[in-house]
């Protein structure tokens, strides 16, 4: 049996989705990798043109490039369909992953969902 490296480790993957008019907030928890990234991407669902999708990654214990690819595909989808993707990475490993991969330069990143105008 493994020793969890941090208390958040081992939280099963899940996604909370809240739709409020034009704004959809998607909040995954647990770990995003090759096994779970498609579920994160699919959770966004249909988006209205002119809407905004906030992907709040602050509750994740882990994310790798499978999650980055999901974010980039969602960003591209938003550009094609006329809605905006906003990513909230928090200040932990997800933010460092966005910086290391430079994906943070290509998508809209905010510190908190309420920072979106």
């Amino acid at each position: 049996m493994s020793v969890p490296a941090d208390p958040q480790h081992g939280v099963p993957f899940g996604v909370d989705v809240r739709r409020d008019g034009p704004v959809t907030t998607v909040t995954p928890e647990g770990e995003v990798d090759l096994a779970t990234a498609a579920e994160l991407e699919a959770a966004v669902g249909e988006m209205p043109s002119g809407g905004r999708c906030v992907v709040d990654l602050r509750r994740l214990a882990f994310m790798d490039s499978a999650g980055l690819r999901a974010i980039m595909r969602l960003d591209l989808r938003g550009r094609e369909e006329g809605w905006a993707l906003v990513v909230v990475p928090g200040d932990g490993m997800v933010r460092r992953l966005l910086e290391v991969s430079r994906v943070g330069d290509r998508v809209t990143v905010v510190d908190a969902p309420e920072d979106v105008e």
Partner: protein
Amino acid sequence: MSPASRGASHPLRRTVPAVPACVAGLRADAAGYLAAAGAPPELTEAVRLAVSEAVSNVILHAYPPDDDPGPVHLVVEVSRGTVHVTVADEGRGIAPRFDSPGAGLGLPIIANVATRLELGPAGEAGTELRMSFDGLAA
């Protein structure tokens, strides 16, 4: 056997079928092994990410998508303050693949978080990615 009872001087060795569901377990095993070795959180985070990327590369690239998945081998070892991680497959080797899934993010991420990175053939077939990470108190 727990990582603590195994002791950090013995390598962690895992061989599992290369399927998406295996990534989290291998990542957790590597992190648990390093925690037992007294690794600081930032080092454990780097290794956890690198293992995840390297194992995902095997799943995405090593074996033809329609075949039964082949194995992925993980070895994690601590030696004189350095963590050595090897991820190997028995697949089709390093070759251009024009239908490649993924955005080519994995290796650059590993190169960024690891101290050293070496990619080469493994045995008669397959590919081996050798990574090392400084930052463990000797």
